[in-house]
């Protein structure tokens, strides 16, 4: 019986396209314990977003080839039939996306969207669902939950919408929360509020969080453990302190050094002689 909530083993993903085969994930390994906050950080094209899609069972087209294992609660869910996935999604595994307003259905009021989520936990009457949702919103310091529930998504500000989305994702106390660039579309001040909210809620329910992002600052603020991914390969793995104080792999070093620093007056100079990061061996901190 394994301790780990989520164990990704030698996961491979490729797409067959007109131009040829595109190898997106090349044998990645990743682990999450219960209640652990883990960041998967990489740039665009690294494969970080498709990883969440695979965890949710969302990539099933004909031209997709998957290999390896995704073990959740001691069960390999990589090729689980959709019927089984429906039970897991929204219940055991929840997800928040980058743009909160786009993630909500524009033609339904917030209360109706909560209703759909509440059905998973058998809150069948609309009245019960409304009350459950209102209580949850109140708990996250939303002062007039009834008004918010009666609103449409476009009537909410970005920050408020993200709080709503986070609450919705957490209302069924999932074991795993996937957060795909949850703060990128938000203003900086709101960003921190959203991250704090995620932190508080997940601590309470001992929910593990897999945070997908390209923003190292956000990683430093939120994560306990970090995986750095580059072009479908995990190049470094370590605790937050290890990665930020003592980055090992040249790619991680490049990522950190290219960020403009608050305590400097000049841009970091860019090193033109960038090596092929994917060919350099993975760095594992001891």
């Amino acid at each position: 019986m394994s301790e780990k909530l989520l164990k990704i083993k030698d996961l491979e993903l490729s797409f067959k396209m007109y131009e040829g085969i595109s190898y997106v994930l090349k044998k990645i390994n990743l682990e999450l314990s219960r209640g652990e906050k883990v960041a998967l950080v990489g740039e665009s094209g690294s494969g970080k977003s498709v990883t969440t899609k695979l965890i949710l069972g969302l990539l099933n087209q004909k031209n997709v080839t998957k290999k390896g294992e995704i073990i959740f609660n001691n069960k390999n869910i990589l090729n689980l039939p959709q019927k089984e996935f429906k039970k897991i999604r929204g219940n055991n595994i929840s997800i928040i996306f980058q743009d909160p307003i786009a993630a909500l259905n524009p033609v339904f009021k917030i209360k109706e969207q909560f209703y759909e989520v509440n059905l998973n936990k058998k809150y069948f009457t609309k009245k019960d669902s409304f009350q459950r949702a209102a209580k949850a919103l109140e708990k996250v310091s939303i002062r007039d939950p009834e008004r918010v529930l009666e609103s449409y998504p476009f009537q909410l500000s970005g920050g408020l919408a993200q709080r709503v989305v986070i609450t919705m994702a957490m209302i069924n106390k999932p074991q795993l929360l996937l957060a795909d660039e949850p703060s990128t579309a938000l203003d900086v001040t709101i960003q921190n509020q959203a991250l704090d909210l995620m932190h508080d809620l997940t601590k309470e329910t001992n929910t593990a969080v897999l945070l997908i992002t390209h923003n190292m600052g956000v990683v430093r603020k939120f994560a306990e453990k970090v995986y750095v991914i580059y072009r479908g390969v995990i190049v470094e793995e370590g605790t937050k302190d290890q990665i930020f104080s003592n980055p090992g792999h040249p790619y991680t070093k490049a990522l950190l050094s290219s960020i403009p620093k608050l305590n400097s007056d000049q841009l970091p100079k860019f090193d033109e002689s960038a090596p092929d990061y994917a060919s350099i061996k993975k760095y594992v901190h001891s």
Binding site: E43, S44, G158, D187, V188, T189, I190, Q191, N192, H214, N215, M216, G217, V218, R220, K221, F244, A254, L255, L256, S258, I259, P260, K261, L262, N263, S264, D265, Q266, L267, P268, K269, F270, A274
Partner: protein, 259 residues
Amino acid sequence: MIKIKNISKKFLVKNSTVQALDNVSMEIEQNDCFAIVGESGSGKTTLANIILGIYNYDNGELWLDNNQLFSKRNLKLRKLIQFVQQNPMSTLNPKKTIFKTISLPLRIHKIVSNDKVVERVEKLLSYVGLDTEFMYRYPDTLSGGQKQRVAIARALASEPKILILDEPTSALDVIVQSKVLNLLLDIKEKLGLTYIFITHDLSVVKNIANKVLVMNKGKIDELGITKEVFSNPKSKYTKTLISAIPTVTDEEDEIKPKL
């Protein structure tokens, strides 16, 4: 160089008016790298659009040296202020080659004679670090960073004096961002340009701008020399913005203002 005197602008949105800019004034001098910082709704984009001539302003004055600017302006004035947008994905016409995109301003403003157009496009591409083989390619074969470089080359084509850059690197990966920012500073020096740099990223501001303007809900919150504003922020809002920066080192954390 650019003088903005008491400019205000209202928008009518669904039966209510939004005061996008409220009596703002500032001066941008030659060779400045003037940063405009603010969150969404601060008015920074509206201000840029007014300087570019996309919107007209309700009251106030806008001057470029001795010329008063309005949204209707002649080609001679229009070519002097050019623009690089935030989103590289939609800034290039997908049905036009890179050559056609960059040569358009060359032709409109008759910068060079027809037989010298190809030569000039090659030169512009070299300014932004792109090979001539990019000339006849279509945007869908370019990466985000490459697209943004093309956008910069296009902006430089009309030989402007002032470049307005609206979050030019926010949509790019961190490493690419660094390359493009360095490139922008190089070009600024080489060609003697003035930049108006709109961004929400205060770390970038600290590293590249000599003056910074903080905007909040259409009003000027703070305006001054970058070094001073950062070492001694006067307004609470500015202090909040600086503290909220997602920093990556302990040294940076230490110099953040305590709220």
